[in-house]
Amino acid sequence: MAMVDITGLRKVYDDGFEALKGVDLSIHEGEILALLGPNGAGKTTLISAVCGIAVPTGGTIEVGGHDVLRDYRAARRLVGLVPQEVNLEPFEKVIRTVRFSRGLFGLPADEAKIEAILRKLSLWDKRDTPIRALSGGMKRRVLIAKALAHEPRVLFLDEPTAGVDVELRRDMWETVAELKADGVTIILTTHYIEEAEAIADRIGVISAGRILLVEDKASLMARLGRKTLRIDLAQPLAAIPGALSHHGLTLADDGATLVYSYDTGSTRSGIARLMADLTAEGLAVRDVSTAQDSLETIFVGLVNERQEGAA
């Protein structure tokens, strides 16, 4: 069943800028969906429209079967939001802001619940600390605690790991996994393919206000996880020797460079075999380098692929 159902969503800001150009997206109950996209793609706008912060210009959004405009109370009660910016009251104590968040949803006070949330996020020891005296990573966790205070069924995390160190990032992923185990549907945005790879069930790619694709992680990673190996030769080649043909090589730089493409996801990259074959052919290698396609080139690749597929 779709937990969040978005159809034909458009958003034109007051200055006339069209940030979302007809987004269709269906998010399954209990899944983790990672929204991947460059700066300005429309990720935050999309989340804002679902959560009631931005008013959609067109289209419909339903959460748990409730229209977010007509039936906003029922819809919003299901949703928790961790915003991209760390927006917190500096002088307020941690536990009070979390209690406040729960109160806003009209729920009765529940100290046991608040304690459980703060413990889960390792904030219990800091409960009486004013927010300005917390580290950046702790502040992010306070945002998560606030979003969880009303026990939402759907959680939006807008770049939860931006500017967060490796250890905290792993903690964050673990928290997300635990929430999923509790049956919470999770949508998170990120710029990092590795992050989407680490925790998502499905990955959506958004660019310039359009969803380019939504796919199972496994099948998408197979397509995205390619690297190229460039081999500079001491002597340029006119053509690729027949003994090397099965490696799928191409020549570049007037024959001075061999380009090899391989899958980082597969158990064998084939690089060792290739090097052995080069030596056997008597080709002297001057240098090697590897490169991963940037997110942007991957996006461009995806767009082209889609257009070709449609044609």
Binding site: Y13, D14, S48, C51, G52, I53, A54, V55, Y72, R73, A74, R76, R77, V79, L81, P83, E85, N87, L88, E89, P90, F91, R96, R99, F100, S101, R102, G103, L104, F105, G106, L107, P108, K146
Partner: protein
């Protein structure tokens, strides 16, 4: 609460705002006490030594209702405008917008808290004044009613200003350029009847005149304008603020993008 009013949210906002007030209770208490005392020293002693009575009331006592109004109006506006401007400014407003609350519940929480604070300050000033002069209150219930209505209506105005303001300068602009002059010229420190005739006519266009007049009536039984007119004026002002807020609610003006 499904379908009905989210009273829990109103309560949460109200208590959260009040806790900010209680955290700085000392300040909230000390500054009105000092400023009231100063007014009494300057106006009561210096000017009062020359004007001993206004319409049968000692000048010191005569200025008490005006002083209370002056502070209550200023406090109601600044508390409410700051209360809603602050979350806009630091970005925590996202939380209000994504919670199952409607605009009127948000208004009730913020305006309720701002009005309570202003009422508290009004009581402090009244208490301080009683140390300097003998304060009599002929119509205590009418006095309380005027006080509460003033607190609420100007907190509503403050809320509108807080929604409208896009920076701290704008936040100060309306109180500084419009409200303070109107309150000072509204007969806080003199009776309208003491003015030359043309100015008396002009003064009747100042809405604050009606408030202070009605409020002073509840103390001394004398007024510049009929009490019924005073009540009508404050009711009209409250209705105007509510209408503007209703429009903001319908359109999401300056709140939702």
């Amino acid at each position: 609460m499904s379908g009905g009013i989210n009273f829990g949210a109103i309560r949460a906002i109200y208590l959260f705002e009040m806790s900010r007030f209680f955290r700085t209770l000392g300040q909230s208490f000390v500054s009105p006490v000092i400023s009231t005392s100063l007014y009494f020293v300057v106006f009561g002693a210096a000017i009062g030594s020359r004007i001993d009575q206004v319409e049968g009331v000692s000048y010191g006592a005569f200025i008490v209702p005006g002083l209370v109004m002056l502070s209550v109006i200023t406090q109601a506006i600044s508390n409410a405008s700051f209360g809603i401007y602050f979350p806009k400014f630091i970005g925590t407003i996202y939380e209000l917008l994504s919670a199952p609350v409607n605009f009127l519940e948000i208004v009730a929480g913020y305006v309720g808290a701002a009005a309570t604070k202003a009422l508290f300050i009004g009581a402090v000033i009244l208490g301080t004044a009683a140390l300097f002069v003998e304060v009599q209150i002929l119509h205590p219930f009418a006095m309380l009613a005027f006080l509460v209505l003033t607190c609420v209506s100007f907190a509503l105005l403050g809320f509108i200003i807080g929604i409208w303001a896009e920076n701290f300068e704008q936040l100060q602009l309306v109180p500084l350029l419009v409200v303070t002059p109107l309150v000072f010229l509204g007969g806080s420190f003199y009776s309208i009847s003491m003015l030359p005739e043309t100015w008396q006519t002009i003064a009747l266009f100042n809405p604050v005149v009606y408030l202070i007049s009605g409020f002073r009536w509840s103390f001394f039984g004398m007024a510049d304008v009929p009490v019924g007119l005073s009540l009508l004026a404050i009711a009209g002002f409250t209705a105007l603020c509510l209408t503007v807020l209703w429009w903001i609610f319908r359109t999401g003006w300056r709140i939702r993008t």
